[in-house]
């Protein structure tokens, strides 16, 4: 037996530890989702069942509609954010722009100021615009947060496009717009898709803005999750979180199909 044959031991050990670190807490989530009774001194649930699943999906609970609304809002948020981020990212990456740093910083602010005292003002402005209780209003609130990721990563994606390709297209007579649509955009597309994962997740996890701008007309699953989660309603919160995993992972899976790794390399340059 050579030393090489034993190399799997530290490797296996490391992977095992990582698996424990990641799936330990997740096991907790899954266990609580099917727990009926669990308390001291029992290390594992005393009784398993699906009572709380029935509760979450009870007809008046609106969980199914809320889930569909959440997914629709997340998709719209992705479309709007990426739609805004494409021109902005292109300009920030390829054009000479005054105050480039200030603009990037400005787009960071919605994440940088803890939002708690701001929501009341946001809600006021949305009421003035008549956007309260509309899907559009909720989408816009999510977009302000999603743009942080979308613009920063789109900037990277456009930086990664080789300028010579564009020049070649221009030299054979393509218009600027044509060059952008036919050459630049397809090359940058994977990067834009990558940013959409983070925008999607950001939207799917958001609840306070949704409450202030969307409720009572727009009800999303994270709103339900918030009440259950912060009240220590472990079963309901776990079930909701598991349900929310489905669209997240499905979205990730779809995006992976399009993702080209190298675009990620230029983020922030």
């Amino acid at each position: 037996m050579t030393l090489n044959d034993l190399k799997w031991i530290p490797r296996g050990l490391c992977l095992g530890l990582l698996a424990f670190a990641i799936f330990g807490p997740l096991t907790n989530l899954v266990l609580w989702a099917v727990t009926e009774r669990w308390y001291f001194p029992h290390a594992l649930p005393l009784e398993y069942g699906f009572t709380y699943w029935a509760k979450v999906f009870s007809p008046r609970g609106n969980a199914t509609v809320s889930l569909l609304t959440s997914v629709m809002i997340a998709c719209l948020t992705v479309v709007v954010s990426v739609g805004l981020a494409i021109p902005a990212g292109y300009a920030l990456a390829r054009l000479k722009l005054p105050l480039r740093g200030v603009i990037l910083l400005l787009l960071l602010i919605p994440q940088a100021f803890p939002n708690l005292p701001v929501y009341v003002n946001i809600a006021r402005i949305f009421y003035q615009f008549g956007l309260n209780g509309t899907i559009l209003g909720v989408v816009l609130v999510h977009v302000t947060h999603g743009l942080v990721y979308a613009v920063w990563i789109a900037t990277a994606a456009f930086s990664a496009v080789d300028g010579e390709l564009e020049e070649a297209a221009r030299s054979i007579g393509a218009s600027a717009m044509r060059t952008f649509v036919d050459v630049t955009l397809p090359i940058a597309a994977p990067g834009l898709l990558a940013s959409s994962i983070f925008v999607f997740l950001e939207s799917l996890d958001e609840f306070t803005g949704t409450y202030f701008v969307g409720a009572p007309d727009v009800s999303t699953l994270p709103l339900l999750l918030y009440t259950a989660g912060s009240g220590g309603n472990y079963q309901i919160a776990s079930i909701t979180a598991l349900v929310l995993l489905v669209p997240s992972i499905a979205f990730m899976f779809v995006i992976e199909k399009f993702l080209r790794a190298d675009v990620l390399s230029k983020v922030g340059r």
């Binding site: 992977l15 910083l105 100021f113 005292p117 390399s265 922030g268």
Partner: protein, 273 residues
Amino acid sequence: MPVPFLGLLLVTPALLVVTLLFIVPLASSITGAFDVDGNFGIGNFQKAFELYSSDIVFTIVIVLLSSVLIGLCSIAIGGYLTLGNNPRAVSILKWLYRWPLFIPFIVVGQILRTFLAKNGLMNSMLMESGILTAAQTISFLDWRGIVIAFVWKQTPFVTLLIAGAMASLDRAMIESARNLGASRLRILVEIILPQVLPTLLVGLILSFVTMMSVLSVPLMINAQSPTMITASMAFRINAYGDYGVANALGVISLMTTSVVAWIHLRQTMREHR
């Protein structure tokens, strides 16, 4: 059309959305931070520092520490994904590391609370397997819990970004270094890391910003005092209806993140030119 003008035109829609829907509402918060009984003053900041200076220091230390750990973990994971020799281990790792990305923060708070507690699932599992005895168990529900929660949730985010960057590097240089007998650690530190550093920093800054504004994790995990700025802001508002000090704390938080982001942006702008 002159190029700077065209550039501004393209950035305008995004800027308009953020300005109208966030910066304008934020303006009343920022002016509110300087509003003491209707007059301009810095009383709210004085009170914020007097009562919450330990919270401010605590927050910055926690978030910086978490950022460093997130950076190290994501470099390690990304490095193995790029340099790993064993295809099976690489694909297991690739499948493994992403899961926490999909768990909302509020649920991260909940599951880590019941996992890391003294009689929580982790210690129960360790006791069942005979690694620990009941007397040796400790609770991690303090600053360590917050750091663990942040690292757990944010590492996949940064890893996802830098693993992509690492994968797109020129393999030729890595291979030739290997042929010259350089260890994988050395290749990672001396060849790969300098090239993905900008990506790593952006990932870390986006994480830093996110962690600074998370409320549910400190609320659900940290019982001790001091706690994080967001928890104190929530307390100021919910217990006293005091937006002045809450906004002052928000401004302090904003300044902290701005300084960090600005240092980074200045550096990249130098490269950009």
